[in-house]
C-alpha cells in the first residue's frame, strides 16, 4: 500500500457507481504505483487546464487535477492535412495524465488524429474540443495495433452554431480501454457524426460511454459503434441522448452493433434516451449477434472456404466504420489494420 494506491481508491469510482458498473476500475488500475503528468511535446502552447464546471466524472477530474496544464492546439483555416497529436509511452506501473485542448476556430475546416501508440502503462487523457460557430473538424482517436497499454479518455466537445464534427474512436486489441465522449450542442444547426470501432480479443476490455446533450434545437447527431469480440473479451457500450425542453427539431440517432465470435465473449449495451422536447426525431438500436449463417452458406456455395468467408464477413461488418472516417489515409490505414487484426 502506498499513497498513490490510496489516492486512486479515493478518487476513482467503484462498481457501485452506475456509470462504472461495467468498467472494473480496480482491475483497470491494478499494479499502478505512480502517477505522472505530461504535456504533448508538439503543442502550440501550454495553458492552465480545468474541466468545465459541473463535470462529475471522477477519473476525468482526477486527470484534470493531476495534469493542470494542457497542450493547446489552435486550428484555423482550411486544410486537408492531418494534425497528429501523439500520446507517448508510459511505464508499466504508471499512469501518465495529459490534458489536450483542441480549439477549432470559426470557419476552420481541419483534420486531427490523436494517436495512442503506447505499448505499455496507462495513458489517461482529458480532451476538450471547442467547435466554434461555422467550424468543421474530422477527429480520430486512434489506437490500431494490439497493445498491453491501458487507455482512459474523457472527451468533451462543445458545439457552437452550425459547427460540423465527424469524430471516430478506434480501438483495436488494446488491453483495457475506457472512452467517455460527451457532445454538448450549444448553438443551433450543428451536426455531428460519431463513430466507434472496437475489436477486442483474448481478455481485452474496451468500453465506450457517450453522452450527447442537446440544449438547443435544430441539431443532428448520428452515432454508430461497431465491434467484434473474440476469446474472453468484454466490451460495454452505453449511449445516452438527452434532449432538453428547448431543443426542438433535434434529430438524433444511435446504433450499436456487436458481433461475437466466441462463446466466452460478452458485449454489454445500454442505449438510453431522455427526451424533454416534443418535436424531435430520436432513435436508438442495439444488436449483438454472430456471423450470419445464410451469408456464410451463400459464400461457401460459391466455392469460398468457410474460414475465408468468415474473415470476409467480419471485415465487412467492421469496415463500415472505416467508410465513415472522412480522412482518406486514415480510412485506408484502418481497413488494413482491421484485416491484420482478424
Amino acid at each position: 500500500m502506498n499513497t498513490t494506491a490510496f489516492l486512486l481508491d479515493e478518487i476513482l469510482p467503484t462498481r457501485k457507481s452506475e456509470d462504472y458498473l461495467y468498467t472494473d476500475v480496480a482491475q483497470f488500475t491494478a499494479g499502478i504505483e505512480t502517477v505522472t503528468t505530461a504535456v504533448c511535446a508538439d503543442a502550440d502552447s501550454v495553458v492552465d487546464f480545468a474541466l468545465p464546471e459541473g463535470e462529475t466524472d471522477k477519473p476525468a477530474l482526477f486527470v484534470a487535477s493531476k495534469a493542470k496544464k494542457a497542450a493547446y492546439y489552435a486550428l484555423e483555416g482550411q486544410s486537408d492535412e492531418v494534425k497528429y497529436i501523439n500520446i507517448d509511452d508510459a511505464a508499466d506501473n504508471e499512469i501518465v495524465a495529459r490534458a489536450i485542448i483542441i480549439d477549432v476556430k470559426a470557419n476552420a475546416k481541419r483534420n486531427v488524429v490523436v494517436n495512442f501508440a503506447s505499448q505499455s502503462g496507462f495513458s489517461a487523457v482529458d480532451i476538450y474540443i471547442k467547435m466554434a460557430a461555422e467550424s468543421a473538424a474530422n477527429v480520430v482517436l486512434w489506437q490500431d495495433k494490439p497493445t498491453k497499454a491501458r487507455i482512459f479518455t474523457h472527451t468533451i466537445v462543445d458545439m457552437q452554431k452550425s459547427a460540423r464534427l465527424n469524430i471516430s474512436t478506434i480501438n483495436i486489441r488494446a488491453a483495457q480501454v475506457r472512452n467517455n465522449l460527451r457532445i454538448n450542442y450549444l448553438g443551433e444547426n450543428a451536426e455531428s457524426q460519431i463513430s466507434g470501432l472496437y475489436i477486442a480479443a483474448d481478455d481485452n476490455r474496451i468500453d465506450n460511454f457517450t453522452i450527447v446533450r442537446h440544449a438547443v434545437g435544430h441539431c443532428t447527431c448520428e452515432q454508430l459503434y461497431k465491434g467484434v469480440l473474440s476469446g474472453k473479451a468484454v466490451t460495454a457500450f452505453s449511449g445516452l441522448i438527452v434532449v432538453e425542453p428547448d431543443a426542438q427539431k433535434t434529430l438524433a440517432n444511435q446504433v450499436n452493433r456487436s458481433m461475437l465470435l466466441s462463446k466466452d465473449a460478452r458485449a454489454y449495451a445500454k442505449p438510453q434516451l431522455e427526451i424533454y422536447a416534443d418535436d424531435v426525431r430520436c432513435n436508438h438500436g442495439s444488436t449483438t449477434g454472430q456471423i450470419d449463417k445464410d451469408q456464410l452458406f451463400y459464400m461457401q456455395a460459391r466455392g469460398i472456404s468457410e474460414e475465408e468467408a468468415r474473415q470476409m464477413l467480419v471485415a465487412a461488418f467492421v469496415c463500415e466504420i472505416a467508410e465513415r472516417v472522412p480522412i482518406a489515409q486514415m480510412a485506408d490505414s484502418l481497413v488494413d489494420s482491421i484485416k491484420n487484426s482478424l
Partner: protein
C-alpha cells in the same frame, strides 16, 4: 454426372425428402415441378450442402464422388452451382471482392494460380454482358439493395463467372417480370453446353418456354411421383396440381 438414390432429408426433425431417385447426365436439362411445400427447394439446398438440412438416408454421387460428405465450398469447386431463390444480401462485401474470392477459390482447387487483376476485370466485364448486368452493380455490395430482377441476373452472372458443370436453378422465375425473365433465361441458355447439365426448379410452366427441358419430374410430398417430357408442363398449366394431389395423396 449426378446420381441420387433414395435420398431422405429433414429440417428441424421434419422429414421433407422421402426417397428421391434421379439420374442426370451431361447435356441434359431436367425440370422439377410441384406444388408449394413438395420439397423442391429442399432438394436444391441439400445438393448444395446447406447445413440447415440433415440427410437421414440415401446417397448422392457427383462425377462418381460422394457428394454428401463434401463441404458446400468443395461441392461448388467440384462444379455444382445453386442459383438461389432468395439470393442473400451481404452488405460490406463488394461484388468484385466476392467474385474474385470465388473465382480464385475454384482456381486454387484446380491447382491454378489466381487470376491477375487485369484478367479478372476483363472476365467480369465479359460475363456481365451475358445478363446485361449494370457495371455499377458490380461495384456494390453483394445483392444489397438489388431489385428482385437484379438479384436473379446477378445469380446467372455468377454462374457465368464460375462455369459450373451442374447448374441448379431454384425458382429463378419467382419475382421476375417478363423482360427480366427473358434476360435471365437467355443467359442460362447461352451458357448451356454438351458438358454441363441443368436442373430447373419451378412452380410455373412459363420459365420452361425459355429453358426447354428434356425431362420434367413432378415432386410431391418429398418423392418424384411422375416423370415425363416437356409436354407434361403444359398439362400442369392447364390442369393445375390438384389431380396430382388427389392421385398421390397419402
Amino acid at each position: 454426372m449426378l446420381s441420387i438414390k433414395n435420398l431422405h432429408a429433414e429440417i428441424d426433425g421434419k422429414e421433407i425428402l422421402r426417397g428421391i431417385n434421379l439420374e442426370i447426365k451431361a447435356g441434359e436439362t431436367h425440370a422439377i415441378m410441384g406444388p408449394n411445400g413438395s420439397g423442391k427447394s429442399t432438394l436444391s439446398a441439400v445438393l448444395a450442402g446447406n447445413p440447415m438440412y440433415n440427410v437421414t438416408a440415401g446417397e448422392v454421387t457427383f462425377n462418381g464422388k460422394n457428394l454428401l460428405e463434401m463441404t458446400p465450398d468443395k461441392r461448388a469447386n467440384e462444379g455444382i452451382f445453386l442459383s438461389f431463390q432468395y439470393p442473400t444480401e451481404i452488405p460490406g462485401v463488394s461484388m468484385t471482392n466476392f467474385m474474385r474470392a470465388a473465382v480464385n477459390s475454384k482456381r486454387k482447387y484446380q491447382g491454378l494460380e489466381p487470376l491477375s487483376a487485369t484478367d479478372f476485370l476483363k472476365l467480369m466485364k465479359e460475363k456481365r454482358q451475358i445478363v446485361e448486368l449494370d457495371s455499377k452493380l458490380a461495384s456494390r455490395s453483394v445483392n444489397a439493395g438489388f431489385s428482385g430482377g437484379e438479384k436473379k441476373r446477378n445469380e446467372v452472372f455468377q454462374m457465368a463467372m464460375l462455369n459450373p458443370s451442374l447448374r441448379i436453378l431454384d425458382e429463378t422465375d419467382s419475382g421476375l417480370d417478363i423482360d427480366a425473365l427473358r434476360v435471365v433465361a437467355e443467359g442460362v441458355t447461352a451458357l448451356k453446353t454438351k458438358e454441363n447439365a441443368t436442373v430447373v426448379i419451378t412452380h410455373y410452366q412459363r420459365l420452361l418456354d425459355y429453358i426447354v427441358p428434356d425431362y420434367i419430374h413432378i415432386l410431391y410430398h418429398g418423392r418424384i411421383v411422375m416423370t415425363g417430357g416437356k409436354e407434361l408442363a403444359l398439362d400442369l398449366e392447364k390442369r393445375g396440381y390438384d389431380w396430382i394431389k388427389e392421385q398421390f395423396k397419402d
